[in-house]
Amino acid sequence: MTMFRPVRVALSLMVVMVSLTTTAAAQTNDEIFPTLEWNFSTPGARANGMGRSFIGLADDATAAITNPAGLMNLTRPQIYAEYKNTRLKVERLADISALTTLQPTAITSIVNALSFLSVSAPVNSKIAVGFSVHRFLDYHEVFNLATRKIPNDPSNTFFFPVSGRADFMATAFGGSVAYMVTDALRVGVTLAANYFQADSLATRTDFIRGPNFATNPIDFVSSGIVANQTSINDTQTALSASAGALYRVNDMVNIGFSFEKSPRFTTSETLQTNPGFRTLAQSPFGTNQALVTSSNFPKSVAINVPNHFGAGVSVRPNAKLLIAGDVVRMNYSSLSENTTLVFFSNLTGAEYVTPDATEVHLGAEYNVYNMRGNPVFVRAGVFTNPNHLVSFTGTSDPATNAQETAKYNLLPRKDETRGTFGVGIALGPRAQIDAAYVFNKEFVLSSAIRF
């Protein structure tokens, strides 16, 4: 029975983590969050090249994140680093007529980051440890929303034009331990301190008739007079834990399981108003004055990073070919549990929902060539990313219903499927370099140095 103590510990930890729930408010109903999709990419160019399939493989240092049990596959101390170039593309109904035409405007930003770094080592034949730094959230957006007429609003109202930016970053500093229970079964746990930085600002201004108003009655432009402003500027820390298991079925087949109890940050958002707003009878109908914080603000905002549970399998039909696949269940619904109400205090917060999603990752690696004894690999894969944008479920107030429906539900929703491609080379017994490209999304470069 002693042999299975680590299993019991891991099991207990997983059960405890699964059973923990929170009732804290999550995100808010300002313009920042409706389009904020949390996407968790698997670290490592190798995994990314294989469609992010890695739970059932977990045979390099990135296992600390994907499946800590995989650290037992390491045979030497090593440093692993990943550089990531991500093209963040956010589609918003930003144009003046977008809420009618439903034609989104793509807002793109490029993020370059050293997104993963780890030091890991086998301690003995039974235990391996690792320390990792993982940037799992790196969201940056600058956007401008035009004055848009709200469809189906009985009071014939328009959204204020909004000028906004958001910078959210979250980094996990984790320590991992993997343990070989039997020759076939390995388990692992990663405990992490997560550092969250949030800096967002959304400024709504009053609007006035635009130059084409005569021919286009919805042509309004910003007057430059601030109506109100919401902002988050905070740093938080929270703990997270993940556990995993790898089971070697036979020489060819491995299966893996992982579960992550993600961190839950609690930050705050402030709403400020302009005392000079619409204080004049003529255009621009007001003056910009020092903003005043509204009553009941700042409000507490919970950022419930979604937990996820995955299972994967890897198969080696021969020495050159590797095939892997994962299925990951993402608990996105936690993001909008009891949404903090910045606007429409007549709501409860429960009107906002985010669907959970199940991702499927498939990929393969093939040793195409040995260059002077150094194996060269090509990889390809595909993964799905089901839509998980927030939806507004409705309310009895027609005006509120029209506004929130326009804000949340008119956005295009697509289940995403992306292909990946990658190459890699092992340079002797000491180094590996891998690169991966996630079509229209990401370029990943990673390297490991073994000692």
């Binding site: 699964v18 045979t75 039997t182 076939a184 298991a245 020489d251 549970f309 194996p375 017994p429 073994r450």
Partner: protein, 527 residues
């Protein structure tokens, strides 16, 4: 709760699924250390590490995955073969070479041809060496076996089997151990036989029981055990009869019974402290009644003559029969005549003994034996006259077996030899067979009686006849109670052994039927 249940079920399934195929890259570290040690010339360390790698994963092959994208050729058997060559453990080198050959691809085999050649050269130029300790053990065991230290040899063989059962089987040591077992059983039987000759029956019994344990079911052993049983039974019967005779005041008979009991089993006789009783009985038998010894009352025995000492108020019941005394006297005379070869007179003396004492057991036995001998002799001679050579030869052979000394004394040996030759047998061979049979039965005297007359017709078998005559003398020497007899008989044995060696230099006694002590005498004699 649903997720919790799924997770718990999965984890439980994992925990219970412990009989999975054991494979991982734990071989990598010891393998790489082993290769490094080999390349540094640390062959013993290389062997230790490489054997660890093989224990972790015996499946060798090229381009094995260590972790992730890292691969290495995994050829532990190749390096083990080379390392073992360096350590001069060629058999292990060969074993690993064979394994390495089967795991290498054709291309890689070509690559390793040089190494293979190196091993072949090494194996060819150096004698294969097995485990030194095992080999030394084999040498020890063989030395013990040839030195007839069978017990120690068996133990050594058993140690070797425990040390390396495979090598034990391959070297055919089981057969050699069986040989040692048979040798030990034979040795114990010889020693038992010698003990019987020396009337050390308890010792003989212990030896025979030990021999039966070592190698159960051997006929000589069971025969000797039966003989000992008969002796024991005879002793008990004679003792009971002697005591009964004593109680009935038949002292002469009691004395005879006690003497026969002593002959049948001297050790038990001494153990039962019957010596004093025999002395007393003999005295009573020879001196007649003497003074009162107890409180019995009444008149003395009507047969009492002389030495009556009825002075008290009671008379003794102890008396000695003068006819018994006379009978013994005649019997003693007969024995003396036999030693002089005067068998007819001896027969007459025994007959006289029986006339005066019809219960004289010695005389009864002697008369019976003489009667039987004469019957066989006469029958054999008649058959010879009737030209029935085969039957005559058999009957005369029985007569010689019954009383070889008398047979020889009466000049029947030449007749028997002629008959033996006439039916296509060799007298010397027959004599040798019968003498050996007598030896095996513990009757060295009979063996001497058969062999001595056979010496004249020894021919090609002279060496064997002399040798086993020497064995018979030596056997008697070893069991003779008196030092003078021992010396005399040993000298005779040595003389015969020298004659045997002279007749056939290099002649060896069979260790299966001759005890080590006698072989030692033989070896000393022929130097």
């Amino acid at each position: 709760m649903k997720i919790t249940a799924i997770v718990a079920a999965l984890a439980l399934a994992l925990a219970l699924g412990g009989s999975a195929y054991a494979q991982n890259s734990r071989w990598a570290d010891p393998y790489q250390k082993g290769v490094k040690a080999f390349e540094s010339g640390k062959y013993a360390e290389a062997v230790a590490q490489l054997e660890r790698a093989v224990a972790a994963d015996p499946k060798a092959g090229p381009n094995r995955i260590i972790e992730g994208v890292f691969r290495t050729d995994y050829f532990p058997y190749y390096y083990l073969a080379l390392a073992y060559v360096e350590l001069q453990q060629f058999d292990k080198a060969q074993q690993n070479l064979d394994k390495a050959r089967s795991t290498l691809s054709r291309q890689q085999q070509a690559k390793f041809t040089d190494a293979e050649s190196k091993i072949k050269i090494a194996l060819g130029s150096r004698p294969p060496q097995r485990n030194a300790e095992f080999d030394n053990g084999v040498r020890d065991a063989d030395a013990l076996l040839s030195g007839r230290q069978f017990d120690a040899a068996i133990k050594r063989f058993d140690q070797l089997r425990a040390m390396d059962a495979a090598e034990y089987g391959k070297a055919g040591l089981a057969a050699r151990r069986d040989e040692a077992v048979k040798g030990l059983a034979g040795q114990l039987t010889d020693e038992a036989r010698a003990s019987i000759s020396a009337s050390r029956f308890k010792d003989a019994l212990a030896k025979l029981q030990q021999a039966d344990q070592v190698l159960p079911g051997q006929k000589p052993v069971t025969d000797l055990l039966a003989e000992l049983k008969k002796r024991e039974d005879d002793y008990q019967r004679l003792k009971t009869e002697g005591q009964a005779a004593f109680s009935s005041r038949n002292y002469s008979s009691a004395r005879d019974k006690f003497e026969q009991a002593r002959t049948a089993h001297p050790e038990q006789f001494a153990s039962d402290n019957l010596g004093a009783r025999l002395t007393e009985t003999s005295t009573l038998a020879s001196t007649g009644p003497r003074g009162a010894r107890g409180g019995s009352t009444g008149a003395g025995n009507a047969n009492n003559t002389g030495n009556a000492n009825n002075t008290g108020n009671a008379s003794t019941a102890d008396t000695v029969d003068p006819r018994v005394v006379e009978g013994r006297r005649f019997a003693d005379r007969a024995k003396q005549l036999i030693t002089q070869g005067k068998y007819a007179e001896a027969d007459a003396a025994y007959a006289s003994a029986l006339k005066v004492d019809a219960k004289n057991q010695e005389a009864l036995d002697a008369v019976e034996k003489a009667k039987k001998f004469k019957g066989l002799r006469d029958q054999g001679l008649q058959l010879n006259k009737a030209k029935n050579a085969a039957a005559a030869q058999k009957v005369l052979g029985d007569a010689r077996n019954l009383d070889a000394a008398r047979f020889e004394r009466e000049g029947l040996t030449s007749t028997l030899d002629a008959l033996t030759k006439s039916i296509g047998q060799e007298p010397s061979k027959l004599a040798l067979q019968e003498a050996l049979l007598a030896l095996l039965k513990g009757d060295a005297q009979k063996s001497i009686a058969i062999l001595e007359p056979a010496l004249s017709s020894g021919g090609d078998r002279a060496a064997s006849l002399h040798a086993y005559l020497g064995v018979a003398y030596a056997t008697r020497s070893l069991s003779a109670p008196k030092p003078d007899d021992r010396t005399r008989l040993r000298e005779k044995a040595v003389e015969q052994f020298k004659l045997a060696a002279s007749a056939q230099p290099g002649y060896e006694l069979s260790s299966r039927i001759v005890s080590p002590a006698i072989i030692t005498i033989y070896n000393e004699a022929r130097r």
